[in-house]
């Protein structure tokens, strides 16, 4: 069968304009399509004879399925197929790290919104009406909705080496999965087992469930192939890990499950797990027709994992001079009904859970639990966002206790190059934590709280609702610093594949870069072009559509693609360049010193040679495919958490300035400032865009974003009730980028996307605490937390 009429974008037409090498503000190759409305997102794909697929989801967070009757749905005119778990030909469960999640529920549903059945019809409304006629008979059970209860850990301050007898739960709900309710327990043990200190602060913290809220919904188009296989065009983050899971579910070999990336409308971790992928393929194979699935906003809230809510208890001990002596932490992540990436989230939360500080004695227990809440998994910042709220609040509390300036205390204990982390890893590249904080301090402050007659309501908390003219408004300033691992950790074989071709087209040398690395909006396609232009000295670089016809690029997550796929593209370009230089020397008839590619020519300054690349290449097509790995990491010791777990760290710091109407509890963030070390800014404009966007998501979690879950049920699955920052909520931002090269990374670069998402929220919290004098241990802060009502 042919490709979709409206084809996935990032298409071969993605040719960049002139210029745009490493370090330039190069333009996106997909930008023109995007501003014209011609870029084909997953939800835009279309074929003449396609059907629409919809999902029937469980209304209950926990129930046994007694029976499913699809007859009434099949009887609806226009319906082509109704499928249940019985129609899944291969593995009935899937998952990123643990295969524990049903493709379609069988026997038991474990969260509200779990997919139970599928319908394909000729109009989306027909499919929806038919789905509503499927009769599912449920035996409803009481859901387990608290991570600590699920693990039988009702009290703090214990080491729960194994899950205790779960006594508080009814018999049938005691264990949600055969292996119990514990997904992972990570321990970090360093230094003395029972340290003491002059000054001790203890705090308990809670972070709510955040949604990625990408604007482009889960969507894609599955097209049955003549070979009995399927072509899936889908908006996703990692084509090959999708392919692996789809193949297992469909019982098909990889060559018959071909994936192409459709246009992606944001991801932020929410597309790491499968959503409609297998479902659309099942319907397409069953009906023999192309099937499109596209979630609406409400379904999207049920259709992807969220950021883990966390409850945390921290104890910090320090000398009177402000030197940290010890940190103890207990961290609970609620993983919801299925594992998703909870094990790796626990890995990050545990190994980096005390922040970028040097502490001789560390005792961390980090748990991930199954409950009947919505499944939680990857979201930007991945296990480091939650802990940063806690450890940075602790640093402020400790500073207050010591009568010290909070920035001073942080600088005194800051990690630097050569420091040892709590997991025993020596930081072997720049770690400019002190400089990040000092530069923030040195930035000018915004004007004071406006007062008097000329108050512009738009500058006030509450805005034009006219809630205050400055009465009761208090200014607060807060600082936070954070760090996070870049790329995959704990011994994961983390690699990317790049195929680079150089040939003459229309008299000009043109490079083509082919990787499977998902472009989700961050601008990797631009970076791929910049690297190829830099390494091959050509102007024209085509970015091939992202698909599974080339090897895996790994996930677009963990701030890793510019590093790892960037590294692969660089290596493939170098291999191509080696061949071209060979060709040139063959042409010259002898070895030439100091040959390089530049400006469309093969150049030797030493020998005064400049041969047009097009002449050197002639009819030759030079192509190289390279699999590239960053240096290996190690798994950590299960008892002590010690090991070389992370390949690189990213550091960022924020200063937040807020005005709080303490009578109404309304917060206006007046300014955000961020400093971040990026090693090398491959595309400064895009780097700043990442910092600004990450800052916004951190601010959102700090003051407004939460999926409210009551008794396992989501209360606010819409943009009416789940609020993300608008342009009115976002203040002006100051951004300063540092470029201290990491000698281990390509071009010295550091992953950028996540760090600013981690330090921004805690800075906002610190500022609100300063303005109000309240401890504010729960995130997001709501007006009632400020007013105490």
């Amino acid at each position: 069968m042919s490709a979709p009429t409206r084809t996935p974008a990032g298409a071969p037409s993605a040719v960049g304009g002139p210029g745009g090498r490493i370090g330039d503000d190069a333009r996106r190759p997909d930008g023109v399509l995007k501003v014209r409305g011609e870029f084909a997102y997953g939800s835009d794909l279309w074929m003449d004879d396609m059907l629409w697929g919809v999902t029937l989801r469980s209304p209950h967070p926990y129930a046994r399925i007694r029976s499913i009757d699809v007859g009434p749905a099949l009887a609806v005119p226009g319906v082509h197929a109704v499928l249940t778990s019985d129609d899944v030909p291969g593995e009935k469960v899937y998952g990123l790290e643990l295969a524990d999640q049903p493709v379609l529920a069988f026997d038991v549903v474990r969260y509200q919104g779990e997919p139970v059945a599928l319908v394909a019809a000729d109009h989306p409304d027909t499919a929806r009406r038919a789905a509503a006629r499927i009769v599912v008979d449920y035996d409803v059970w009481e859901p387990v909705t608290d991570a600590r209860v699920a693990l039988g850990h009702p009290t703090w301050n214990q080491v729960h080496d194994s899950p205790a007898e779960v006594t508080e739960l009814s018999r049938e709900s005691a264990d949600l999965h055969p292996h119990g309710n514990l997904v992972r327990h990570l321990k970090v043990r360093r230094g003395a087992p029972a340290p003491t200190a002059d000054v001790v602060v203890v705090g308990e913290y809670e972070v709510g469930m955040q949604d990625q809220a990408f604007l482009g919904p889960e969507s894609g188009l599955a097209v049955p192939g003549e070979d009995g296989g399927v072509d899936l065009y889908v908006a996703t983050q990692w084509l090959h890990v999708d392919q692996r899971q789809i193949c297992a579910a469909l019982a098909l070999p990889p060559e018959r499950v071909r994936l192409t990336l459709a246009g992606v409308g944001g991801a932020f971790g929410g597309r790491e797990d499968l959503s409609m992928h297998v479902h659309a393929c099942l319907l397409a194979l069953h009906t023999g027709k192309p099937v499109k699935m596209s979630y609406n906003r409400e379904e999207s809230f049920f259709g992807h994992v969220h950021r883990h809510p966390a409850t945390m208890r921290y104890e910090h001990g320090a000398t009177r001079d402000g030197d940290l002596v010890y940190v103890k932490a207990e961290i609970y992540f609620d993983g919801g009904a299925y594992a998703s990436s909870t094990p790796a989230v626990v890995g990050n939360g545990g190994t980096m859970g005390i922040g970028p500080y040097v502490v001789p004695n560390v005792h961390v227990d980090c748990y991930g639990a199954y409950t009947n809440n919505p499944p939680c998994g990857a979201m930007r910042g991945f296990g480091s966002v939650q802990t940063a709220f806690a450890y940075e609040a602790q640093m402020d509390a400790l500073a207050a206790e010591l009568g010290m300036d909070p920035v001073e205390l942080r600088c005194r204990n800051a990690m630097e190059q050569g420091s040892t982390t709590p997991t025993g890893q020596v930081v072997d590249s720049p770690a400019p934590v002190v400089e990040l904080l000092r530069r923030l301090e040195a930035m000018p402050m915004p004007p004071a709280v406006p007062t008097g007659d000329d108050v512009d309501l738009r500058d006030m908390p509450g805005g034009v609702s006219n809630t205050t003219h400055g009465e009761g408004v208090r200014r607060g300033v807060g600082y936070a610093v954070a760090y996070k691992n870049v790329a995959f950790s704990e011994g994961f074989d983390d690699y990317s594949t790049a195929r680079v071709r150089l040939e003459v087209v229309g008299g000009e040398a043109v490079a083509t870069v082919h990787t499977a690395a998902a472009e989700v909006g961050q601008g990797l396609v631009t970076v791929e072009q910049q690297i190829a232009r830099t390494e091959l000295g050509v102007e024209q670089v085509v970015v091939h559509p992202k698909d599974t016809a080339v090897g895996s690029a790994g996930s677009t997550s963990a701030s890793r693609q510019t590093y790892v796929t960037g590294g692969a593209v660089k290596a493939a370009c170098e291999a191509v360049r080696g061949q071209v230089l060979e060709l040139a020397q063959r042409g010259v008839g002898r070895p030439v010193a100091d040959l390089r590619l530049d400006g469309g020519k093969v150049v030797s300054d030493v020998e005064g040679i400049a041969l047009p690349l097009a002449d050197v290449l002639g009819e030759e097509v030079v192509e190289e495919t390279v699999e590239w790995r960053h240096r290996p990491t190690e798994s950590i010791d299960p008892e002590t958490g010690q090991g070389f777990a992370h390949v690189q760290y990213a550091f960022s710091a924020h200063r937040a300035v807020v005005d709080v109407d303490v009578e109404l509890g309304l917060v206006k963030v007046v300014e955000m400032a961020c400093t971040q070390d990026v090693g090398k800014a491959i595309n400064p404009q895009a780097v700043i865009g990442q910092i600004q966007g990450g800052t916004a998501q951190g601010l959102g979690l700090a003051v407004m974003e939460e999926i409210l879950v009551r008794d396992g049920r989501v209360q606010n699955p819409s943009f009416t009730d789940y609020l993300i920052p608008t342009v009115l909520d976002m203040p002006p931002m100051r951004v300063e980028i540092l470029e201290y090269a990491d000698p281990h990374a390509p071009y010295g670069l550091r992953g950028v996307g996540e760090a600013p998402n981690i330090s921004s929220g805690p800075a906002v919290l610190a500022a609100i605490r300063q303005a109000t004098g309240l401890p504010l241990t729960r995130v997001p802060v709501r007006p009632e937390h400020v007013t105490g009502t």
């Binding site: 932020f268 404009q685 600004q692 943009f719 931002m733």
Partner: protein, 168 residues
Amino acid sequence: MRLTCTVNGTTRQVDDVWEGESLLYVLRERMGLPGSKNACEQGECGSCTVYLDDVPVCACLVAAGQAEGREIGTVEGLAPPGELHPVQEAFLEAGAVQCGFCTPGLLVATDDLVSRSLAEGRTPTDPEIREALAGNLCRCTGYEKILDAVRLAADRMAGDARQPGGTR
């Protein structure tokens, strides 16, 4: 039902439109104009912003029938084929496009704001820009570069307007 309206200057007629279909659905699924995006279908995100007789509206909230006989302008019609409108150009230059899902709606909203300001002989102030774009969610950019783009577009269009033969 049958629907007839003018879209981007061309008269369009579609048959078999269902009761309950939105203008957004008709544009995207029946007219082959998927540039206007669907991110909420509740009037909350602005991704579907189009001109309805010169007034920006959320196409997801407009019943298809309400568009009968009216003039619709979408992102696809902002510039002639092969050209870019100054607002489009400014969004690209300022780096205001990441995933781009919010972009079509923002372009229409920005074009409206800037045109209205220029008609009053001025460019929009920052608070005016924020107010005008408050109904357009963007999850990627944190809005800073969108503000840059709007300022840039306004300045360019103001400059062009002063020159004979300039845009708009």
